[in-house]
């Protein structure tokens, strides 16, 4: 189902105007507060905004290339879930029982407080990785276009 063509007011048109106005205002504010001088150029700012917004809006931040290229995720990913275990062969089950039934209830409040911050950090990490990926894609496209232009002009 697509937007209704009989509508007197089209949401997409109104939103395009609102988004442009908000983006221009944001650009003016950043420039006024000493942001990069490149942002004085509205066209440059619009392109930067587009690339970063595309990364921030990605629906599936779990599907990224960079994490696949890193070492085992245990080495870099904030561990939000709590796994209680012991490597000791005989007393291990008793230690796990003690940690789970005695220690965990006592410190659960602290764990749940820090958990929110770990979750926020994990989210920011993923958005930053998505930004890098968008920039790498942009770079690859431009390189391909440059190389095609170069071949055509020879």
């Amino acid at each position: 189902m697509s937007p209704d063509t009989n509508s007197a007011i089209h949401v997409d048109a109104v939103m395009a105007k609102i988004e442009t106005d908000v983006r221009d205002e944001l650009r003016r504010r950043l420039v006024a507060r000493g942001g990069p001088s490149e942002f004085r150029d509205a066209e440059v700012f619009a392109r930067v905004h587009e690339v970063l917004a595309r990364a921030a809006d990605r629906r599936d931040l779990d599907v990224l290339l960079l994490p696949e290229l890193l070492a085992d995720e245990d080495a870099w990913k904030p561990a939000v879930a709590l796994r209680i275990s012991s490597h000791r062969p005989f007393v291990g089950p008793m230690i796990v029982f003690f940690k789970r039934r005695v220690i965990l209830p006592l410190v659960r409040w602290l764990f749940e407080y820090t958990e929110d911050n770990f979750r926020r950090q994990d989210y920011v990490n993923r958005v930053v990785m998505a930004c890098l990926e968008e920039l790498a894609i942009e770079n690859a496209r431009l390189r391909r276009e440059l190389s095609a232009d170069g071949q055509a002009s020879r």
């Binding site: 939103m15 629906r59 879930a81 796994r83």
Partner: protein, 402 residues
């Protein structure tokens, strides 16, 4: 046809979205079919404590069979397994454990489906995330119609769902976005339809505002001033209310400093409150309101705000349009954005700045706001009246004949 409707909890006094959807659809199905509701004895969706008596009862023309919950939800264990599953590191066994811990655990309902499932021509299951649907559907997959009520939350990526979503004989979705979400997880080959939910035209009745005002000698019982914008539903961080309150407080401060004369604007929160709400002169908390007050608020508000990041269908948005009220929704929820764009019935926002600019548009241009509300109502008339919805359901019931 002989139909069964499987839902995790059921009752006229239960306000949940999928539970209400199941109940109204089951009542409409009973116009043409023999309908039995298979459900738990639980009323509380947090603990699943048994509340209703086990056994058979009736709700209008519906036969209701309730099965006891064998254990209350262990919230600490549920949170632990949720962290694991939502971190993306869970094994299939961990994911199965999540569906067990989420509950309500009703083994007798599964026994009923296993033993007598073939007595029903079709078994309709609501909400994939609950025990009765997740473990019950595979037992009668050849006659199962799934209403997933899927949202774009981390659970939807659980690997165990790839098999689960490919099992039903038919699907009923609430929005095209939900259908896409499920199709990304598993091929949807069976007959399927996007039905949304039926909604009756607004009846002009008495106005509780003026009724109560005259009963209380002219004073406004709700202390509301025009103009106000409305949030209707559970006031809860999971519904995006924290961001809404931040954005609105900032908006009011910015509007007060803006040049020109503008009326002060009030935000009315109507619904059970599950979070601290800051004491702010422009934020008015009504708590739970009766249906007549709800309708009066919808007919008097300027805009309905819907900040939820996760929805499979917003009934409140449909209700607002049913009253000709424009809406302002969270664009990060694909379902809400899709609803608004299809209807041309309001605006959407991603950031606080967009929230402010869109709200300015709706408040400062009453003619355009009214036109958007009217377009929303026209969309409800086209898509969400009961005859249209039931026709789509019948097509899937017949088309999924095994």
């Amino acid at each position: 046809m002989k139909l069964a409707c499987v839902i995790h909890r059921f009752g006229a006094d239960i306000a949940g979205g999928s539970e209400s959807h199941c109940r109204v659809v089951a009542h409409h199905l009973a116009d043409a079919h023999d309908v039995t509701v298979l459900t738990s004895c639980a009323r509380d969706h947090v603990t699943w404590e048994n509340h209703y008596a086990a056994g058979e009862s009736s709700d209008g023309r519906l036969r209701v069979r309730r099965f006891p919950v064998v254990r209350r939800r262990d919230l600490a264990r549920f949170r632990d397994v949720s962290r694991l599953v939502f971190s993306g590191r869970a094994s299939n066994a961990d994911q199965e454990a999540w569906f067990r811990e989420n509950g309500p655990v009703v083994p007798a309902l599964l026994d009923e489906l296993q033993g007598r499932g073939t007595a029903y021509d079709r078994v309709l299951f609501w909400s994939y995330r609950y025990f009765p649907t997740y473990f019950g559907l595979p037992l009668v997959a050849d006659r199962a119609i799934l209403l997933p009520t899927a949202e774009e939350d981390p659970l939807i990526r659980a690997a165990a769902l790839e098999t689960f979503f490919s099992r039903p004989a038919g699907y009923l979705f609430l929005t095209p976005e939900e259908a896409d979400l499920v199709a990304e997880r598993a091929p949807v080959r069976a007959p399927a339809a996007v039905i949304g939910c039926g909604i009756d035209p607004v009846e002009k009745g008495s106005d509780p505002f003026s009724d109560r005002a005259s009963a209380e000698k002219g004073s406004d019982p709700f202390s509301l001033t025009d103009p106000f914008v409305l949030y209707l539903g559970r006031v809860d961080p999971n519904k995006g209310c924290e961001s809404l309150l931040h954005y609105f407080a900032r908006y009011v401060a910015g509007r007060a400093q803006a040049p020109g004369t503008r009326h002060p604007i009030q935000l009315v929160l109507a619904g059970p409150v599950n979070m601290p709400v800051p004491d702010h002169p422009s934020i008015h908390v009504l708590g739970f309101v009766e249906d007549d007050v709800r309708a009066a608020l919808l007919s008097r508000a300027r805009v309905l705000l819907m900040p939820s990041p996760y929805e499979s269908l917003s009934m409140v948005v449909l209700e607002a349009w049913n009253h000709g009220l424009p809406v302002l929704v969270n664009a990060r929820c694909a379902v809400l954005r899709g609803q608004v764009r299809r209807a041309d019935g309001g605006l959407h926002y991603r950031t606080g700045a967009e929230f402010a600019a869109a709200l300015d548009y709706l408040l400062d241009r009453p003619d355009e706001a009214r036109a958007l509300g009217a377009q929303g109502l026209a969309y409800v008339e086209r898509e969400y009246r009961w005859p249209t919805v039931m026709q789509k359901i019948e097509t899937v019931l017949v088309g999924s004949r095994n």
